[in-house]
Symmetry: C2
Subunit: 150 residues, 2 copies
DNA sequence: CCGATATAAATGCAGTTGCATCTATATAGA
DNA sequence: TCTATATAGATGCAACTGCATTTATATCGG
């Protein structure tokens, strides 16, 4: 009986896809206009900043960001080339490495957040009450895969 | 005062981006697994099917699908190469053309919908009640740009 | 009617993504 | 221990995207 989607499901799907694409594009444009790198960079810098001095293994970044493996590999190469992250050999696993954010990386993250955060505030925060935002988050949470208890 | 996003706004944004990406990827994978073309093809075929025999001008497709102009141009070239749409010179505007879906295009759309619709039913329809779906649609509707009255 | 500007659509080129594969190391099992 | 398999990460190549520009036609102002 999950064969054919109900009209309500189709509408919610369509809006979800359309709105998310639209808002994402707006946020990307804001960064671009400010001469800053794309959002993917922010996502990685954010995770690495949260991780602290210990850094993260690339495969951990993949889990957290949902980016594809090859994508992370190349993204890290670009971030390293720009001096925003550094790669460290890890002692107990010769295959891998640990990636750590640099001071320059933290600075870039800060500058990106100034723009990105403003986009979020404008595009979402200014349009729904806190209560509605909570409702939205809860509903979206139930669509996550794999489904996790709220 | 829309400077800094509230925690509720950040959370809603993060979920929106993450969930939409995840669900989109799932739907794309389902099509790929079935040996069918990507969702973008469906979007165009859908619009053209709705438009009927009169077809649509490429710029109308751009408005409806939110794809970039160059993207539509190339997508239509691929669809035409596969015989799914046909391009017709339009009498009263020598710059443009009208694009019409072919029988083969309708057939492809039908086959894609069999898979895509099932994805929507499973990923969204089976996870939220009709009532929650309506709520979700309404909240997302308020995030559209430009904002339109519900 | 004519030149300037605007709109429709296509395209060359550079950068990015996706796929498949490859290299290197680690772990498991005989 | 030695081989087989699994995991971490990088990469060659083809397809796709984004940007800027180009071509062609239409419209507007004088």
């Amino acid at each position: 009986m999950t064969e054919n989607p109900s009209p309500a499901a189709i509408k919610a799907w369509a809006r979800l896809m359309r709105v998310s694409r639209q808002l994402l594009e707006r946020a990307e444009d804001a960064l671009k206009d400010a001469g800053l790198p794309p959002l993917a960079w922010y996502d990685v810098l954010h995770e690495l900043a949260e991780a602290g001095e210990g850094g993260l293994r690339p495969f951990q970044l993949i889990e957290r960001t949902l980016f594809a493996q090859y994508n992370v590999s190349r993204l890290l190469a670009r971030l390293e080339a720009d001096g925003l992250v550094e790669k460290l050999r890890v002692a107990d696993d010769g295959r891998g490495q640990t990636v750590r954010i640099t001071g320059k990386g933290r600075e870039m993250r800060r500058r990106m957040w100034a723009v990105y955060g403003r986009s979020i505030a404008e595009l979402v925060g200014a349009r729904l009450s806190n209560n509605d935002l909570e409702t939205l988050s809860a509903l979206l949470g139930r669509l996550r895969h794999p489904a996790m208890p709220e």
